[in-house]
Symmetry: D5
């Protein structure tokens, strides 16, 4: 798996909000083998580390040929990002293209301690 | 009636939000016999079970030739989904196409116990 | 005046939200005699009675040739609907087309007792 | 019927295009007696006379309580405006709100002689 | 099959354009048995007969439980409408909801003789 | 200065919200002498008096040839409207067209006592 | 009246299209004395002279306190701009804010000789 | 490579237009190895064969892990579809997500003989 | 560095909200040397000083040829504006154009003491 | 100046359309020294050479600190691109952000010989 790189938070004394939106997410449906498409939104309040943008892109690309369910992948991205940058707060939202005429969205979040921006 | 299938929640320790939007809902007006059209939105926090997407689609299709009032069908879908997956929280919204120049929306929700995402 | 008909709330044990949007409202300006146009939005939590949609449409049409001020008509619709269905909560919003280059919106609500969906 | 007033075209030597859009048209369905709503668009190249805007508004209001079919009213407005201002070219489009789930548009035009802007 | 009713064109001397848009079309996929959804647009220049709106709605509803391909149904609607009202020109467009992530549109037209509005 | 006229609140026992949006505001930049353009939004809960719409329009027009700063004019309109109708609550928002590539918005409010709709 | 300044066309051998859109036009209604608002669009193919942008802005501002009809002002702007820069082709479109619920647009153009971009 | 399947044109005597829009196209940049994303639009007038929708979807997926330039892939899809269904006319448009801040679109078409719908 | 000028708050007794949106922000990526683009939004409640608009524009332009990271520049703008006008509350949001297909937004705020409008 | 690189047209026998849209153009106003912003659109039919995307981006960036008028820069880009790839047809459109409240667009094109896609 691609490593998620980080860099030191340039303003660690302040709680502030960082948001990255990646509309080019794609994985594979574990049932049908067909490609799935969606947008992954990441919002977080950094503690001592910030997510490096290019490695984040490469990390999301590791799902491109993997079979994952919507409910699972959003939680796994959350766990991986939390492990990588140990944020004060982090939320992942996956908005997926319709399948069988139904649009799905999954949102999960993690809080270290309640000091949100 | 089509059975609503479920699968085990892959991340049951975390409260997280799942949302399915089905814009291809259709039923029949019990008064005029004319087809009604609308969008059904389902949001929930799973407990031990998640709603399986394909069976959810087939379940919503069972209303296609049934005569139901807006206020009734939203509550019945809520009851059926709650019975199927016993969620921590679940909300159903039906947004219906205009009839007689009036657009109608009905929203109902169920809470097991207050541990919402 | 057209009578506002009701039917028994099919799910009276649950607080749930019903919303009707009527974009084809028209009345007459009491000052100039010119027709006014707007959208009337009705949101409510039913108690034992629901508003019947067709009679609601006919009720709103009774204002078509009547001279009423914006501030007055929204409150009168609120009073009439509350009298007809005795809801737990009901809100009326009138959004009116611009007159003299100014768009106006009036919103009024009534609460029986605080048990909102 | 309200008279459609005109004023002398201030630039009669030039073919130029004038367009008036009236989104507050309303009449009555001759079958059901229910109010219809729509937008009337008028485009024309004046010859010696221009349509006076206020009398145009009053003219369109004369349909408010009249029962007319869509196909008929657009042609009648066309005939009346052509008679009033004798334009080089004039087109009327009626875009009507959906009835029975169907939106209708009717477009008719008149040309005096081919000297369009 | 529901008969498509007509009424005499109130302005037969003039070529003018009539357009009906029906966004509540639904049929069944002949392969999967799943419901299809779409919008049917009809544009025509009447000769001696106009399409009656309510019977048009009922005609389109006859496809609700029928299995038809997109390419076929648009041509069949075109043939049926041409047979019913013998127009100077008529065009049918079907815009269908995505299936397998692909949106499809089919457009077919019929001309009696070149006298279009 | 044009006097802001009022009329008796027709439903003074109820707290309800009135909103007027005037997108045709224009004044003059006190620095450059160039015209400024913007939209003034007024929201209020009337006590015993409502703002009369036509006099409100004329009042806003008094700024047309006056040199005022954004921060100042919103507060002055707030003060003038509060003085005229003594509302339970009133908010003024000025949204101004970009100058030097920067869009500005100023929002100020006044509360008599906390009984908001 | 403000003079419309010009500068030499930097590429006079090529027919190319220049378009300026001024959404901050305002004048006064000659009948009611009320301010009118609109957008003036200017498209042209320069010959030897181009319109200088700042003087164009100042020229349009000269109408701010003048009473002019829509049909007249568009033709007058056309005449003034043609006189100032003697273009190969020039078109003026005025799109005016609704008055009495009716939106108006007036379009006039001038061609020197048929060598349009 | 996935075979593009066809089925007999159900209305071969009439020239009519078929359009398929596939917003879930993805391939790989031949230079950087990074995934590219885009929408492929296909419009055609069938002769004796129509493109089967599911095999079209599978055909487009064959580019998912292939390195292709925009200019090349649109022409290759055009050639493959023309070979498969021998249409009277066919156009392919590829609209690609921005790379380096630049959005690219490529459009190519093929005509058998000039009998377009 | 350009100095951020201020002027006395014309209504210092009232907490009110001022918002400036600058969509023409540009800087340079410290890694690639490529220009970055974005929108800077500033919201604040002034104490005794307001930010002068022209100097604010010039201040934001000082970043045009500077290499800065998103997370850093938003906090630096916040610090500089707080130092310049000592507001009761101030928030800076940077919305940056996509890089590598990912859109980023950073939001930071400063509060002197909790007396927000 | 950055060199505009090209690569061999992979399908030179077919006339097909290539379009690149660069919304991150910026230069400097030659009068005020202030940065200008805009979008450059390039459409062309290649002959034997295609424009390489990355060098196109770098070429457009060469204007970042240069003072150029709108009318001039669009024609200069056109000349440079024509010189670089000798296309069958090429069009450049510059859409610039408003200055003094006026939006400007300039469009110029070059044709080698009339064999357009």
């Amino acid at each position: 798996m691609a490593e998620i790189e980080t860099f030191p938070n340039p303003h660690p004394k302040r709680d502030y909000l960082i948001r990255h939106v990646a509309p080019e997410y794609s994985s594979v449906c574990p049932r049908t083998g067909q490609p799935d498409f969606g947008t992954i939104e990441i919002e977080y309040v950094a503690d001592r580390l910030c997510l490096e943008l290019k490695s984040l892109k490469l990390y999301l690309q590791t799902y491109r040929n993997e079979g994952v369910f919507y409910e699972d992948v959003v939680n796994r991205i959350l766990d991986d990002l939390v492990a990588a940058c140990k944020p004060r707060w982090l939320k992942v939202t996956g908005k997926f293209n319709p399948r069988g005429g139904i649009h799905s969205t999954v949102t999960a979040e993690h809080t270290k301690r309640r000091r949100r921006a």
